[in-house]
């Protein structure tokens, strides 16, 4: 039986379909059931669609202010929580006046009971005008539906249209109330469609080159983008737009002018790459920059596309030279250690192979909160025989996985980290990282160092009092 029912799930047997143990002999279509509604009360780790659009997609844009149309909570939770640093540099050579503006400010319409009864349109209008007044230097205003406004049915589009003219700024409405879709993935999708439909093709870049690319699905988590950007610069390739790490509003508007799109996070952003290809004929390729091997392969692919193979080789050679000694050190320390990767989505297939290939680690379990079928196919292809693949693990399963598979380290999120610690298992952050960036050649060394530091922290050897002492 390739599917497995955990002991803790005997009362919710539907979970069996979500948990698959890889067997080479199985047909391809054997993958965990996914992207379906969560079982109520199962203690899921999933988030909502609003988190998907604001937290993941738009929260990285440097020069817009976000107006959350909600009671105060969604605004509070939407405030600067994901580690998306931005530089003040703008594409026109100017500087945005506030550094890391996207991490510093968030606005909300602060809906009260009377607004729920009589509608929140007036407050939305006031708040957008106040946003334009409070932050006159922003280049656009993004506004979000939430559970409350989705249910009371405010026509946010109408307000946005009217005030775009009045303020002279793009006002973009994202309609992904928290309850829409089974996971935050729904919010990613809405974010892609909205930005494509409303912005792409509306502006022209100040200049273009034959080597312009869109780097799509790269959010600059903990500075990831700033590791890989120099690779492209050294190859003579120009990142015209990043979707959306450290990007400006205008960059999204001229994505149609790139010669090629690279799709980095393929769960959250393949949508827009496809749409741009269909409408503007800009082809896209899927890329992976986690770990030296994937990084090299993908730089070569991009080099080949632009006839810059030699330049790619030069980047790869220089970086490999830089990290080789450290890589060997960490490999010696981490060889044979077992890992469970529990990510939002694609890091399930980005991370395990590099850990195995470069560090000699063994993946015993992988799991995601919101992957879809295509993602699980890739995951299955890349993990070893016998690895358990779990869709949307709940916290009781988390305990059973730790007991049964005894991973030496878990790469996961903050909600899971401390319960793993209570069980005596080191766990480090993989959504927003411990001490990243983790991408690219140099980033992989950071990842290895953090895994090493977690596993080898002396604390794990002294958890319990030993009556016998040292003798």
């Amino acid at each position: 039986m390739p599917f497995k029912l955990f002991e803790v799930d005997k009362e919710i047997p539907d979970r069996e379909k979500h948990i698959y143990v890889k067997d080479e002999a199985d047909p391809v279509e054997h993958i965990p059931k996914c992207n379906s509604k969560t079982i109520p009360g199962c203690m899921t780790e999933r988030g909502c669609a609003f988190a998907g659009v604001k937290g993941v997609i738009t929260g990285a844009v440097k020069d817009v202010v976000h107006v959350v149309h909600s009671p105060v909570g969604c605004t509070t939770y939407g405030c600067g929580s994901k580690r998306y640093p931005t530089s003040p540099d703008l594409p026109n050579g100017g500087k945005f006046p506030v550094e890391n503006f996207n991490l510093k400010y968030i606005m909300g319409t602060d809906l009260k009971e009377s607004d729920v009864v009589f509608g929140g349109m007036k407050k939305l209008r006031q708040s957008i005008l106040e946003a334009a007044k409070e932050f006159p230097y922003v280049n656009a205003i993004y506004t979000y539906a939430t559970c409350t406004t989705g249910l009371i049915g405010d026509d946010m589009e109408a307000v946005a249209k009217e005030l775009s003219e009045e303020t002279g700024k793009d006002i973009v409405t994202f309609n992904a109330p928290g309850f829409s879709g089974p996971t935050q993935s729904k919010g990613h999708h809405v974010g892609n469609l909205t930005l494509f439909n409303k912005l792409v093709g509306t502006k022209e870049p100040p200049e273009t080159t034959p080597y312009d690319i869109n780097l799509i699905g790269e959010y600059n988590i903990d500075g990831d983008l700033w590791v890989i950007k120099p690779y492209f610069e050294e190859m003579g390739i120009n990142i015209l737009s990043t979707f959306t790490g450290d990007c400006s509003h205008d960059e999204i508007c001229w994505m149609h002018r790139a010669k090629l799109s690279l799709v980095r996070c393929q769960r959250s952003a393949t949508y827009i790459a496809k749409l741009i290809e269909e409408k503007y004929g800009v082809p896209y390729i899927k890329v992976d920059f986690f770990g030296p091997k994937y990084c090299a392969e993908n730089l070569r692919a991009v080099g080949k596309y632009f006839g810059k193979e030699a330049e790619a080789e030069k980047v790869i050679e220089s970086r490999m030279k830089k990290i080789q000694a450290e890589l060997e050190f960490y490999r010696e320390k981490l060889e044979g250690k077992t890992v469970w990767v529990f990510s939002g989505g694609p890091k399930n297939w980005h991370i395990p192979q590099p850990l195995e290939e470069h560090l000699g680690m063994k993946t015993v379990a992988v799991s995601t909160m919101f992957e879809h079928e295509d993602g699980y196919e890739k995951i299955k292809e890349r993990v070893g025989e016998g690895t358990v693949i779990i869709d949307d693990p709940n916290s009781l399963e988390l305990e059973e996985i730790i007991e049964d598979y005894k991973p030496d380290i878990i790469l996961s999120g903050i909600k899971e980290k401390y319960i793993a610690h209570k069980m005596g298992t080191p766990c480090m952050l993989i959504h927003s990282y411990e001490n990243g960036p983790y991408m690219g050649f140099e980033g992989f060394i950071n990842l290895a160092r953090d895994i090493y530091a977690s596993i080898y922290s002396p604390v794990w050897n002294m958890l319990e009092f030993d009556e016998m002492g040292e003798e």
């Binding site: 909502c48 669609a49 105060v72 510093k104 006031q126 309850f179």
Partner: protein, 462 residues
């Protein structure tokens, strides 16, 4: 004597809020119950964001379940979600108590939580047997997100717990009920320490001191499911009607105490939070009032240690400095009063709520202030930033969210309250009681050393 100006923000929108919505306060309250689990009847973000926030602050697990409302529930109602959510949680986690917490969506849809809980209870009885189903208390907690803030959610939750669980009084248990408010584990521990010195047994409604700060001892920890040690038992809450009195430490969380007073004649008092000398003195007088016990020497010695610190430090390092305080209305008012006791001026006190209790408390505090006090009510961090840009102060006291503009304005920030995620251990160090006063005066004075004196300066020589 300083004047007191009440200032409201000049916008309708909120920018960088100082509060969140009601459900979070209810989750906090339920987390303080032994084997208690919150079940949020809403979208997944409603639980996930709060778990993230708790874990970031306490560096601890935070187990909060959700009924995962999706589109179909938005259209047809969340009946099935709540009933099956309760059932799944009961049968897999076997908690002592489930707090069923409403949200904006379930309130707008109009779900009848009380009715659904009844049906869920029947289903549980069929599935688990009467005895086991009966051992799991399910408490409906109404916390519409679009009314007030998380402080109200906390108050509503404690009241719902007491209203549903407190039994007809039998005979006095000689205990005192304490409603701590949304304070840190270190604060609740300090309150328990004071009670212990007084020789009083307390019923803490509810006690997050161990549940949000639990030891890493795999061999002595309850797993499958994981439950942290500690927390108030359901039995203790049931017994709260037999107590000598109830003290609600924070000015926003008195409803449960009032309810016990009204129903069962348990006398109650509301605030002020025992931060600083006079507020802690008042807390001890309240304890004495209900128990008739003397204040023990050991506590008076602790008070004396605080006096000693103040005598040593205030005039030389702190006197006359201006302070901006922000965050929780009860904690902010308490700190403002302590700041006056330290010879400093609470020039700006900023909170996200509009409450009569807060304003009254602050008016009293301003009478003890050497300079004018600007009270920013129903406000937010952006309004505070703007105010401090125009008129700077020497020090800021508040939670981590003010760190970015504090740095920008070059005003040293002394971290207290919730959330503090960019310092270690602050949830463990009390700011209440005399010991809390000593911790605060040390933290404030050390910040003054670091920011107003050169490290090698001869002024620091002796």
């Amino acid at each position: 004597m300083g004047e007191c100006n009440v200032i409201k923000k000049d916008r309708n929108s909120v920018i960088n809020p100082l509060v969140t919505c009601q459900p979070m306060g209810a989750m906090y309250a339920v987390a303080g119950i032994r084997r208690g689990l919150p079940l949020v009847h809403g979208s997944q973000g409603c639980s996930t964001f709060v778990r993230y926030s708790f874990s970031r602050h306490f560096r601890e697990p935070s187990e909060i379940a959700v009924t995962s409302l999706h589109e179909d529930a938005a259209v047809f109602g969340g009946r099935r979600n709540l009933i099956s959510g309760l059932g799944n949680l009961a049968v897999r986690f076997k908690p002592d108590l489930i707090g069923a917490i409403s949200t904006c969506s379930s309130e707008i849809i109009g779900d009848d939580m009380v009715g659904f809980i009844k049906i869920a209870k029947e289903e549980m009885t069929q599935k688990m047997g009467e005895k086991e189903a009966e051992s799991i208390k399910i408490i409906p907690i109404s916390t519409p997100s679009f009314v007030d803030s998380h402080f109200r959610g906390y108050d509503n939750a404690i009241k719902a717990l007491v209203d549903n669980l407190a039994e007809e009084p039998t005979e006095s248990n000689n205990k005192v009920n304490i409603i701590p408010g949304m304070v840190n584990p270190g604060d609740t521990r300090e309150i328990k320490h004071i009670l212990a010195l007084m020789g009083i047994e307390g019923i803490i409604l509810t006690d997050i001191s161990d549940t949000f700060d639990s030891p890493l001892r795999p061999s002595a920890t309850e797993f499958r499911p994981f439950y942290p040690k500690g927390g108030t038992t359901v039995g203790e809450i049931s017994d709260s009607s037999n107590s000598l009195g109830s003290i609600s430490l924070c000015n926003y969380s008195g409803s449960a105490a009032k309810s016990l007073e009204k129903k069962y004649d348990v006398p109650s008092s509301l605030g002020p939070i025992p931060i600083g000398v006079q507020n802690t003195d008042q807390f001890l007088r309240n304890l004495k009032k209900y128990t008739d016990l003397e204040i023990p020497e050991a506590l008076l010695d602790e008070r004396g240690l605080l006096m000693d610190s103040m005598a040593d430090l205030v005039s030389r390092y702190l006197f006359g400095r201006t302070v901006a305080i922000y965050g929780d209305p009860a904690i902010s008012a308490g700190i403002a009063r302590f700041v006056c006791e330290l010879g400093m001026v609470p020039s700006v006190v900023c909170t996200g709520v509009e409450s009569k209790e807060f304003e009254e408390e602050m008016k009293k505090v301003s009478k003890e202030s050497d300079g004018p006090v600007d009270m920013l009510v129903g406000s937010d961090l952006r309004a505070l930033e703007t105010r401090l840009q125009e008129e700077p102060v020497d020090l800021m006291i508040g939670h981590s969210d003010g760190r970015l503009f504090a740095k920008n304005l070059e005003i040293p920030l002394i971290r207290v309250g919730y959330p503090v995620y960019d310092r270690a251990g602050y949830h463990r160090v009390p700011i209440v009681g005399y010991n809390g006063g000593i911790n605060l005066i040390d933290r404030i004075t050390n910040t003054v050393f670091e920011n107003f004196y050169d490290a090698e300066h001869w002024k620091l020589q002796q």
